[in-house]
């Protein structure tokens, strides 16, 4: 038994840490945040080079055929750096849907490109299909800013089309987290026949399995942001003086930090376990995944609230990096279900 990453998995994580040190320093992240669409092609290329985009894609389709556990190790580091890349959409949800819906030829064609970064796919929901046309608005679509293609999912049926398709309008929304943008995607009479229809209908069980992977990856993103939040808060508390003392020697401050780590550290074990249970298709995954996500939302919210306060007024400034992690966690909290809904889901799954 080995609870936690194996040696090989730790190597993968360390390599990601190094990569992000190069490609997602906080200066770089801030630079990208200032741009129109917050897309960092260099970061994407570096992640692709390392194989981070194809961790969930099987080897026969050009991925590494590893699992959600490995993906989550990377997601956590991206969260820690508030890196401007939506891994959950591009490398979890999209490939899993293509895998489930595509026939062999379609998987061959698409998954290779997803794994290599040649195609970055975003997922669009809430659109209707009628009279041979797609119509409607997908309001909070994640990762469209970084995407080359869209995957439209309607009741388990999936189609792929380039973002730049006649009749598709993308309007960027402004969430508080400027490192990962959301968009409103409007379909105005796009002909269904112009889109590539994936052969298989994805069952509702498979759809919830995909959502569970998204929940776990998002929890990992928050976890990373929390660890970083604690780190920068503790670091600050060790340097700042008031009343002739290092503020980190005040118990009010120390105890905030102790509470943060006492809450966040066990979440690490829960995230690891959830990813493992997903990979191994354990029976308990149906309640563990939503529970893990809900827990990360609660713990995360508390953690960044406390960490921000450790900085005093500086914590409220744009200049202080803390708000990057604060916002990351805030946005993650709303993804793949609100905590109350997720706990409800977990309870239902458990009593079923």
């Amino acid at each position: 038994m080995e609870f936690g990453p194996s040696k090989a998995q730790r190597l993968l994580r360390d390599a990601t840490v190094d990569l992000l040190k190069q490609s997602a320093s906080v200066e770089r992240v801030r630079e990208i945040m200032e741009t129109e669409t917050a897309v960092d092609d260099e970061l994407k290329a570096a992640l692709a080079d390392q194989g981070a985009l194809g961790l969930l894609v099987s080897e026969r389709y050009g991925g590494s055929g590893l699992g959600l556990f490995e993906t989550v190790l990377v997601a956590q580091e991206l969260g820690r750096n508030a890196a401007p890349f939506d891994l959950t959409t591009a490398s979890v949800i999209a490939p899993l849907l293509i895998e489930a819906a595509g026939d062999h030829a379609q998987r061959e064609q698409w998954l290779n490109k997803v794994a290599s970064g040649e195609e970055i796919v975003a997922v669009v929901r809430g659109v209707k299909e009628g009279g041979g046309r797609f119509i409607g608005v997908s309001s909070y679509a994640a990762g469209v800013n970084q995407a080359t293609s869209l995957l439209v999912e309607v009741g388990g049926r999936c189609w792929l089309l380039p973002v730049a398709t006649q009749g598709v309008t993308v309007e960027q929304l402004n969430t508080i987290d400027e490192t990962r943008r959301w968009s409103e995607v409007t379909f105005d009479g796009v002909a269904v026949s112009d889109c590539e229809r994936l052969t298989n209908r994805v069952s509702s069980q498979e759809l919830s399995r995909v959502a569970q992977a998204g929940q776990i990856a998002t929890a990992a993103d928050s976890l990373g942001a929390c660890y970083r939040g604690i780190e920068v808060a503790v670091e600050y508390a060790k340097g700042r003086e008031q009343f002739g003392r290092i503020i980190g020697s005040f118990q009010a401050v120390k105890h905030l930090c102790a509470e943060m780590i006492a809450d966040v550290d066990p979440l690490q074990s829960l995230v690891w376990y959830a990813a493992y249970a997903w990979d191994e298709r354990q029976d308990d995954i149906h309640h563990v995944a939503p529970l893990c996500k809900a827990h990360s939302a609660e713990i995360g919210y508390d953690c960044v609230t406390k960490a921000t306060q450790v900085f005093g007024g500086v914590g409220f400034t744009w200049e202080c990096d803390m708000h990057l992690y604060f916002k990351r966690v805030q946005v993650d909290r709303q993804l793949f279900g609100r905590p109350e809904e997720l706990r409800e889901q977990a309870a239902m799954a458990q009593s079923a």
Partner: protein, 396 residues
């Protein structure tokens, strides 16, 4: 990540499972070590030791089972007892705190004399640390041990000493040197029958006399009863505290309380109440994270990795979780939740109130939550210690 266990562990698992199925009645009857059930409790514990489910890795000549240390075997055994909703033998200050300390610091002779009877439950221990003036600031303790020839003569007072009335023995911290705060402390064991010891029960908020004041008047204890060297007591004593915090933060009790909560919600018809269910699921998430965190610590030990701050948070989290679980059960029962044992209409014999208050006691005992946070932030996160207060200005 790999949670597969090899065949050897799975067969141990089945062995434990079968054993518990066959012997369930005896396990359930083995309660109340401190009262009338003592013989039954000792008999059951002795069987568990013989089977190697308890004290598994203790050498045979100390009364243990003598297996090679194997954390996974221990884990499997724990899991099976938890699955059967049975406690894994006796848990007390002697077995969980003193024995492991003695294995680190004791002489061969001390180990042979105390370990066997302690693990079987024949020898009950109490912990003489806290004093009226020394709780969180334990190292300020003043109970004095003065050496006279081959013995120490002890004078002073301990307080909050759990089970001192029932105990055969005490391990205590005493002051052998007044010139040095920490280096003046020694760790000593003594028989509670020694003349000059006076145990006076204190009533806890639960209305039980489970802890005591212990007075020492010219109590003579042989020098060979010191564990470690004279003056090394702080080091030995804090090792015991480390074991204590591990014990207090164990998830087994939390798990039993959680299952109890599920049962209560069902009984009072709130199983499908959204607000209560939400509260239950929040607690389940904490429990799950706490349990899995324990497995992560086991892996660290298997690989000789220092767990760092991760090992320091267990007591704080576990004790608060137990308290919050009891609070849910009590709230779910409403008016009935505040009835105490013996009352008409009381549920579960009033145990939820007792355990609720006892859990609060254990947020305080073994180092308060605030002290845990000091330790986590200082030893775990490297934050600065509280500066020593400036000496109060002398009035002219």
């Amino acid at each position: 990540m790999d949670l597969e266990l090899s065949e050897q562990y799975e067969s141990l698992r089945m062995e434990v499972r079968d054993f518990l199925q066959v012997n369930r009645a005896q396990a359930l009857a083995a309660r109340d070590l401190y009262g009338e059930g003592r013989d039954r409790a000792v008999a059951w514990q002795t069987i568990l030791v013989e089977k190697g489910f308890v004290a598994r890795t203790l050498p045979k000549h100390f009364g243990g089972f003598g297996a090679e240390p194997d954390l996974l075997e221990t884990m499997v055994i724990q899991q099976e007892f938890a699955r059967a909703k049975l406690p894994l033998g006796l848990s007390n200050q002697g077995i969980d705190m003193f024995v492991p300390t003695l294995l680190v610091f004791g002489t061969e002779e001390q180990q042979e004399r105390y370990i066997g009877p302690t693990i079987r439950g024949e020898m009950i221990w109490c912990q003489g640390y806290s004093e009226p003036g020394s709780g969180s600031d334990l190292a300020s303790l003043r109970t004095r041990a003065v050496r006279q020839g081959d013995r120490y003569v002890i004078n002073g007072q301990k307080i909050w000493t759990s089970t001192a009335k029932q105990a055969d023995m005490m391990f205590a911290l005493v002051r052998t040197d007044t010139a040095h705060k920490h280096a003046g402390i020694s760790y000593i064991v003594l028989s509670m029958d020694t003349p000059g010891i006076d145990v006076r029960p204190l009533m806890t908020m639960n209305g039980e006399a489970s802890f005591n004041e212990v007075f020492f008047t010219d109590v003579e204890v042989p020098c060979e009863n010191v564990v470690g060297e004279e003056g090394q007591g702080w080091n030995v004593g804090t090792t015991t505290l480390k074991f204590e915090r591990g014990m207090l933060g164990r998830p087994e009790l939390s798990e039993r309380l959680y299952l109890g909560c599920v049962d209560i919600l069902e009984r009072v018809g709130l199983k499908n109440n959204g607000a209560f269910r939400d509260r239950l699921m929040r607690l389940q998430a904490r429990l799950l994270a706490h349990k899995l965190h324990g497995m992560r610590l086991v892996t660290d030990r298997l690989e000789n990795r220092d767990s760092g701050v991760s090992s320091l948070i267990v007591k704080l989290n576990g004790c608060q979780l137990n308290y919050d679980l009891c609070a849910l059960a009590i709230d779910a029962m409403g008016e009935r939740g505040v009835l105490r044992f013996g009352s008409k209409h009381v549920e579960d014999g009033g145990s939820w109130q007792t355990t609720h208050m006892y859990s609060l006691g254990l947020i305080i005992g073994g180092g308060t939550a605030q002290i845990q946070k000091n330790i986590i932030s200082e030893a775990g996160l490297g934050m600065p210690r509280e500066p020593k207060p400036a000496k109060a200005p002398r009035s002219a």
